[in-house]
């Protein structure tokens, strides 16, 4: 029989304790040199060395660099588009672009925070597809690099005023507009005679067809979007401007949002799976729509239906529509983390994605169908041609049909909506 297992257990414990102490020592050092957590960390920083360089010098510097580009990898349309663009970047600029396919942008923000917590300046991310809350987290941690947008030659043709504020937060030139999104809805024409063109009409559909309506679960991106869209539609029009600024106090928040909670209280029992399960995101809801489990879905890609029908992801009976009072629109961006090691190549890559040919290819509904951030009217003729030749597919949404997008409420509302939703419905 073995007799010495007791000391060995003691040794193991001592070893664990020892390593814990070592760790504490190791991790204390970077923490000692931590940067204060402040909303405007990143302002008033030293001028980046690249800022002093001419664009030509930047492209020279970029040649031969390899960048890690973090972008959501859930859509084959997006992935294959980025594969093509990476090929072009290698041919034209001598840059190797590695598309790191992530399941959620917050994971990448997590990584950056971890690198920062460890006091590392050589980050593993060179460029990132981002917007809204994730950009806010990045900026607040002082991890957004810039300003750089105005230095990109292709930024000349950007739509006037686009990308100055992201979900109400000033971007300060730290993220470059890449595409425009507008909330669209879709329904199955085989099951519904007419689409519900407002939140109250949606509730009617739910009353007539219990269990056939749902929305993605907040705080997922599309779930929170649904809450905001409902809030804007359900409050009196004269109150809408309140949402543009931070809410004053909890009483005001409760008063303004009361109609929303009344609405959801009525809707939830009538929803798919009685609301016990909600789709994780717009994508999952589209899968449910394709199988007729639910009869309505939503998306932030205005040409989603055209693309899905062509690809065979969606049945041919699905049609897009929007609400009568308009729907929320926003912009998605490309940013460079402050800890990126290959900023020159990241700049060249972002500039390429902003070019007219790249933007036109992205706007093609048979490829991806993401709206361009360029002002097509201002483009020189030879560059505009690519946009003029874009095909129109069955299930496309014309710019006229989309109308003017509603603007995003101030972020303070978003946070409070998510918290209040969880408090009310997660118990």
């Amino acid at each position: 029989m073995k007799t010495d297992h007791l000391p060995s257990r003691r040794r193991a414990l001592a070893l664990m304790g020892g390593s814990l102490l070592v760790i504490a020592g190791v991790s204390a050092s970077p923490w000692a040199t931590s940067i204060a957590y402040a909303a405007d960390a990143g302002k008033g920083k030293a001028v980046p060395e690249l800022a002093a360089l001419e664009w030509k010098a930047i492209t020279e510097k970029a040649r031969g660099q390899r960048i890690d580009f973090h972008a959501w990898g859930g859509s084959e349309a997006t992935n294959s588009y980025l594969r093509d663009q990476a090929r072009i970047a290698a041919q034209r600029h001598g840059i190797e672009v590695r598309h790191v396919k992530i399941a959620d942008t917050a994971e990448s923000v997590s990584t950056l925070l971890a690198e920062k917590a460890a006091g590392r300046s050589d980050g593993s991310i060179d460029a990132i597809w981002i917007n809204g809350e994730n950009f806010r987290a990045l900026k607040q941690a002082g991890l957004a690099w810039g300003p750089f947008v105005s230095r990109l030659p292709n930024s000349e043709y950007l739509l006037k005023g686009i990308g100055s504020r992201d979900f109400g937060l000033a971007t300060d030139g730290m993220e470059a507009p890449w595409g425009r999104a507008q909330l669209i809805f879709m329904y199955d024409t085989a099951l519904l005679k007419a689409p519900p063109r407002s939140m109250s009409a949606l509730l009617e559909v739910a009353r007539e067809n219990p269990g056939r309506v749902t929305y993605p679960q907040p705080p997922s991106f599309h779930g929170t979007t649904f809450l905001k869209q409902a809030l804007i539609e359900l409050i009196p029009v004269e109150q809408r401007n309140v949402l543009a600024t931070s809410f004053v106090d909890d009483t005001q928040f409760a008063r303004i949002t009361a109609p929303l909670w009344r609405y959801l209280d009525a809707l939830h029992p009538l929803m798919w799976a009685q609301g016990e399960r909600q789709p994780a995101g717009a994508e999952e809801q589209m899968k449910l729509l394709a199988q007729r489990s639910v009869w309505i879905a939503l998306s932030f890609v205005s040409q989603e239906v055209a693309n899905g029908r062509k690809e065979g992801r969606l049945p041919p009976t699905i049609e897009p529509y929007i609400h009568d009072g308009g729907t929320l629109g926003n912009v998605h961006y490309l940013a460079i983390p402050a800890t990126a090691q290959h900023k020159a190549a990241a700049l060249v890559w972002i500039n390429q994605l902003m070019s007219a040919p790249a933007q036109a290819a992205k706007a093609d509904p048979s490829r991806w169908g993401d709206e361009t951030v360029l002002d097509v009217a201002r483009l020189p003729d030879e560059k505009r041609q690519a946009f003029d030749e874009l095909p129109s597919l069955a299930g496309s949404m014309s710019p006229e049909a989309l109308g003017t997008p509603l603007s995003e409420p101030h972020p303070s509302w978003t946070d409070a909506l998510e918290a209040e939703w969880a408090r009310r419905y997660r118990n």
Partner: protein, 583 residues
């Protein structure tokens, strides 16, 4: 059973023998990251996170965790799905043991279950959902005669975690059966059965009374691993569990992914709470298991069974018929379980070949290889990464396991060393690895291959160890002793006798480690910094998208690699069954 012998004196000397270096090396490899991970948890749990502006010890993290809405439901769900899934898997394994093991039916079952064993959890969960959901294939089959336009509505997945428990059991039962199988292959089964039959008892009686307790003892550790896994599983719970009040593990991941970085504070507390819950449940389970085995032994001794040779007449015929019908029921159950899992697999394969497949069509309306072409264009790197990573990690795991066993000659009972080995399995992956990531970066390492290899080893080594522990302890040491007496060195005896006779368990252990490595998501993402794309990371990214066909392709690829390895492992010669009593 065979006695264990120490091959050297028990005196502890402090010289640096290679063996000692090795043992401490392995311990450091496992404990270092675990301690790093824990440190990365403990600090934020006590309100310390200087980079986010939390610079003093406080209970802010605790308060925020306990204030989360829906926690009580989360606990309830975690227990129902985790404990329920484990119990169900044990029951299935017991059923297999008493009614199928060693029979022709049992062998067929094992062959059929191999793909399920190899299938990553996420893939199986998706397949089950596509099979059994209201718009799933089974429902379409039932509704085919009635021209129904829309799927019915019933709660699947349900809000109580029952669907999740069943899904976990379907995935874990084959693993426990494999463990039981390797345990059986090391037991002198034939000798025991022959002796029992010579005394006039029937085979089912002997299985239930003699073999079952031995096997359960031998697979205690794997059962523990299954319990720990089921209580902390994330991806399956997201597919088969409720979402509005999800399990604790899903809750943790939600907090980690929150765009508000300070949500990490309550997440750290939650990670510690979940780890504690796992440890408490393991301890309870171990105590309960021991008690049940004790009762079983007393019952066996107090109720000597009727011998088949003594009784004849209607009573024994009736009894024989009764036990036969019980066996038949168990077999039917096992058959249903196996067929369900295989159907899930088939649905995934079909889905990957479909262009359009909408309710209510029973089969795809348009077929095409486009999904495969698209996926292969983008998954080439991921495939080779997955393959080489798993080969490297599985090989290292088996070599390290053998080396440490050779040092320790463990009996498979819990000891300090094994507890350390188990720690990575007990801690919720998402949070513990985040702590590890911070520590790893603090040490000046970069994200990439080395981190991923160590991260995978943390989880494959315990499983390789688990799979080998039983066979290793039951090996008849007298064979090695004979070789030593005839003048072989210790190494020659190890390689020439023990390892050669243990080829099959070694191969299976390697295959299990390989499959575990393939299925790792969190360590690959967190420690690789995205620079090591694998089939699993790509599958999960695709699973968040709107295209089930691509998800199916990735899941197929993800399942095929381990499946191939398992098939190869089964062809490895079993070595001679070592029977202590040669008759």
């Amino acid at each position: 059973m065979t006695g264990r012998r120490r091959t050297e004196s028990g005196a502890v000397s402090l010289s640096l023998t290679p063996a000692r270096v090795l043992r401490w090396g392995v311990l450091l490899l496992l404990l270092g990251p675990t301690a790093l991970g824990l440190a990365g948890l403990v600090a934020p749990a006590f309100g310390l996170w200087p980079t986010l502006g939390f610079e003093h010890v406080s209970d802010v993290a605790w308060q925020r965790w306990w204030a989360l809405p829906g926690l009580a439901d989360g606990f309830r769900l975690t227990l129902i799905s985790g404990v329920g899934g484990t119990l169900l898997a044990i029951l299935l394994t017991l059923g297999w043991l008493t009614a199928a093991a060693g029979t022709a039916f049992g062998e067929r079952l094992e062959r059929l279950l191999a793909p399920v064993l190899a299938m990553p959890h996420l893939a199986l969960a998706l397949g089950l959902l596509w099979l059994a959901a209201p718009s799933g294939v089974l429902m379409r089959l039932l509704l085919a005669p009635f021209e129904v336009l829309v799927p019915p509505q019933f709660p699947l997945p349900d809000a109580h975690g029952i669907t999740l428990a069943i899904g976990l059991a379907l995935k874990e039962a084959p693993f426990l059966m494999l463990m039981a199988q390797t345990a059986l292959s090391r037991l002198p089964v034939r000798a025991q059965l022959q002796a029992g039959q010579a005394l006039g008892y029937s085979i089912p009686q002997l299985r239930w009374r003699i073999l079952m307790p031995q096997v359960i003892r031998a697979i205690a550790l794997p059962i523990g691993a299954v319990l720990a896994y089921s209580l902390a599983v994330v991806d399956v719970a997201q597919v088969l569990g409720p979402t509005r009040t999800p399990t604790l593990a899903v809750r943790l991941v939600e907090l980690w992914r929150d765009s508000d970085p300070t949500a990490r504070l309550p997440a750290s507390v939650g990670a510690l709470v979940l780890a504690l819950l796992v440890i408490v449940m393991m301890a309870l389970g171990a105590a309960l298991g021991r008690q049940l085995l004790r009762w079983h032994r007393d019952w066996t001794l107090d109720n000597p069974p009727a011998r088949a040779c003594e009784v004849s007449g209607p009573a024994s015929v009736a009894r024989g018929a009764k036990s036969e019908s019980i066996s038949r029921i168990i077999r039917i159950m096992l058959g249903i379980v196996t067929v369900t899992s295989l159907l899930a697999f088939a649905v995934i394969a079909l889905q990957s070949l479909a262009r359009s497949w909408f309710f209510p069509s029973l089969l795809p309306t348009r077929w095409g290889l486009e999904s495969w072409q698209q996926a292969l264009a983008g998954l080439g790197d991921a495939f080779t990464n997955s393959l080489w990573l798993a080969v490297l990690v599985a090989t290292l795991s088996v070599i390290l396991s053998v080396a440490v066993f050779e040092r320790e000659r463990e009996s498979g009972r819990l000891r300090g060393f094994v507890v350390c080995l188990y720690l990575p399995l007990l801690l919720p992956q998402a949070s513990f690895l985040f702590g590890f990531q911070v520590g790893w970066l603090s040490l000046g390492a970069s994200p990439g291959w080395p981190g991923v290899v160590i991260g995978h080893l943390l989880f494959t080594l315990p499983y390789a160890w688990l799979t080998l522990a039983g066979p290793w302890a039951r090996f008849d040491v007298r064979l090695e002793q004979a070789a030593r007496l005839l003048g072989s060195s210790r190494l020659e005896a190890l390689i020439g006798i023990r390892l050669r006779l243990m080829l099959r368990p070694l191969a299976i252990s390697w295959a299990v480690a390989f499959a575990v490595s393939i299925a790792q998501y969190v360590p690959t993402v967190v420690l690789g910094g995205g620079r090591v794309p694998t089939l699993t990371t790509e599958t999960l990214a695709l699973a968040t998208g709107a295209d089930p066909r691509l998800t199916a392709v990735a899941a197929c690829l993800q399942a095929c690699l381990p499946l191939l390895i398992f098939l190869l492992a089964r062809w490895v010669p079993a070595g001679r069954a070592v029977v202590p009593t040669r008759g």
